[in-house]
Symmetry: C2
Subunit: 405 residues, 2 copies
């Protein structure tokens, strides 16, 4: 069945171009030192000048992508280049590993064990290589991704958080590997990095997720498992993140569509079904942040808050699932999460979305950005949905992949 | 003015003995492996068998203290000894620094940079030295405190979290130093450890708090400042923790009373006044967890939740302030926080308090314990207030220290 009229490319495009990007274009760029400041209050005033290294990469990628795929807007290109330059100049430590935060001027503040700064820098460098034609950026993208792979997957490189008493592994490095390799492949071609092609790195992470994290018998995609994929029945091991799992679901559907791997689309749809069932709050609406595999209380006391980004991911995943399967339940799911999100997150006064709501949907914290929230999940969702619905004024018909009901 | 009738020793004693301790006595002790399990659901069922090293120390201290000061209950002595033995046997790494979590059997899971495991073990070893007469426990208490001092205050011993771009220091190590040294002095006498007497360590930390963290001109007790005590006007530097500051307030009042240092009582009362004004939620009641020095949004999105422990600390602080000054405003403050707390936190069905409420006072997470919540803040508050009000059936008259209104 077709989608309701609200689900037009125009709606997402209008929100992106008139309600979200203007906020970041106006308040984010640092005209003096370059790069972007994301710790902004509801009205765009600066809460903290310290810079998120994640966001130099994420914004560098987002604005370069918008410039290349939406319109050749010089302002977007300038933001992309500025973030990319700031990353290259200020965000790498002497050994190449990247900082987590730096001062406005670019002096290092904090290093973390993990390497998501590197993955976000890699996609920024790759998209900006295409945008600028500067081939040295290709090499920077490859180097950043190579560092990401080494720290994430080579044993004993990343400093351990726990002893060897109960070894575990997380799904995060695999998810980010998929989406990072997808973007690098788009810009650099399916090249070989650290002994695998980008497509093979993606297949390897999808296979690992399927074999070790995907538990159809338990109706869950796990966040953390033992090295052999078995469930760790302790608080950390049982903690599920429905929004994160649903993000993973659309990464798999997207790759399945690109490579005509129906199996990956099916797994993506299964993950979406399972985690929607676990995460959607039947009392107040919205997606709960954490849930427990066995329905027990989650150790993180703020587990029932409603964050903006899981909702963005669920909008993408349900739209993609509907387009790929034509199943009515995904149209209903999309309507449900779209309506709740657009009813609760937007700030009609200053634009952008609030990021953090109480379980009941009231705003818990009015800031528009911080080290973790900036121009990424929301504009990515709006851009993605706009593209998926492109060329239709009001409604489209899905294609039909064979998915079990 | 006298307190209202509700504020009797009997009320606190009854809550302690009939509504709080029975929960922990029944569900906490690990009969098989010793020590205490604190990750318990609302009804006492086990959520996670992993053991909090903090709580082996905290419970070891709490039950030993109850045994020595409330009644010679063999069950309490047994819990105290078991926690103390478990700490000694399983919770120290080969170099003496303690783990943060261990398995039920005592195998190490996680080490953290900081040394609060050591401070809580120190007070447990000290109280159990008194309880058991085992002098080797005195030595263990001294060794644990000595480790605490070295990591907390000797430059370059603790692994840094940030680069040297913007050095900072926290109030936490000083607050915990005060209360740890107070308990050690009570059990071991005013001995010299790491070149200072315990009383001198307390004075040094109080002086540091006064000179570097206490900002009467800004109306705040800071959590984090630059090494010279100046305010760091960034998100982390501006973040205030009213409950934590109010806990610090009563540590100072308590020490001021013991040593007849009126100045410390006055500073404690000032901190209580300032941070009550900043932290008390005029819309919903209860103490906000974090606030910002300049009233800006706090980066931690769950900043407006109501936790049990800041309320326990505020009950102690306001009772002590009232006893020491006789000022009416502290009686009103005590009534306000006592009434809100007893109206929102207790679980009438299974006993104990819920730990984590939404801003509006509804329960966000039903578990009774985890790695950070167990038999400590709540029973400590009930025990402390019961002692302060002892010997009166209904109401007492405060003594009068000269405190500016």
């Amino acid at each position: 069945m077709p989608l309701a009229n609200a689900f037009s490319a125009n709606h997402y495009r209008d929100t992106l171009l008139n309600h979200v990007l203007p906020f970041w274009e106006k308040y984010g760029p640092d005209a003096e030192h370059g790069g972007i400041i994301t710790s902004l209050d509801h009205d765009g005033s600066v809460l903290d000048t310290d810079k998120s290294v994640w966001f130099q990469g994420r914004a560098g990628w987002m604005f370069a992508t918008l410039h290349q795929t939406v319109s050749l807007n010089p302002a977007w290109a300038a933001i992309a280049r500025s973030c990319c330059d700031f990353s290259r100049t200020h965000c790498h430590s002497p050994n190449g590993k990247m900082w987590f935060t730096v001062t406005r001027e670019g002096a290092p503040l904090r290093m973390r064990r993990y390497v998501f700064s590197e993955s976000f820098a890699a996609i920024s460098y790759a998209a900006n290589a295409t945008l600028s034609g500067d081939s040295s950026l290709r090499e920077h993208a490859i180097a950043a991704y190579s560092t990401y792979l080494r720290y994430s997957f080579k044993p004993n490189v990343m400093e351990p958080k726990f002893t060897e008493t109960r070894p575990s592994k997380g799904i995060g490095p695999h998810m980010i590997n998929i989406v990072t390799a997808q973007e690098l492949r788009l810009h650099l071609g399916d090249i070989t990095i650290n002994e695998r092609t980008l497509s093979d790195w993606i297949r390897w992470s999808i296979d690992t997720i399927e074999s070790d994290f995907f538990k159809p018998d338990l109706g869950a995609l796990m966040e953390t498992v033992a090295p052999d994929g078995s469930v760790i029945d302790h608080a950390d091991g049982r903690t599920l993140n429905p929004g994160h799992a649903i993000e993973c679901a659309w990464f798999l559907m997207h790759e399945g569509r690109l490579r005509n791997e129906t199996r990956w689309i099916q797994i993506g749809c299964s993950i979406l079904d399972m985690m929607w069932e676990r995460g959607w709050d039947k009392e107040h609406g919205g997606l709960l942040y954490f849930t427990d595999l066995r329905g027990l209380p989650v150790q993180e006391y703020w587990q029932d808050m409603k964050f903006w980004w899981p909702h963005c991911e669920a909008i993408i995943a349900s739209l993609l699932a509907w387009k790929l399967t034509g199943l009515d339940r995904y149209a209903r799911m999309l309507e449900t999460v779209h309506d709740w999100s657009f009813a609760h997150f937007p700030d009609p006064e200053h634009g952008e979305w609030f990021g953090y709501l109480h379980r009941d949907g009231t705003v818990a914290q009015r800031a528009k950005g911080n080290l973790f929230k900036g121009p990424f999940h929301l504009p990515r969702m709006l851009w993605f949905c706009m593209n998926e619905l492109q060329g239709t004024q009001t409604a489209i018909e899905p294609s039909s992949h064979s998915i079990p009901q």
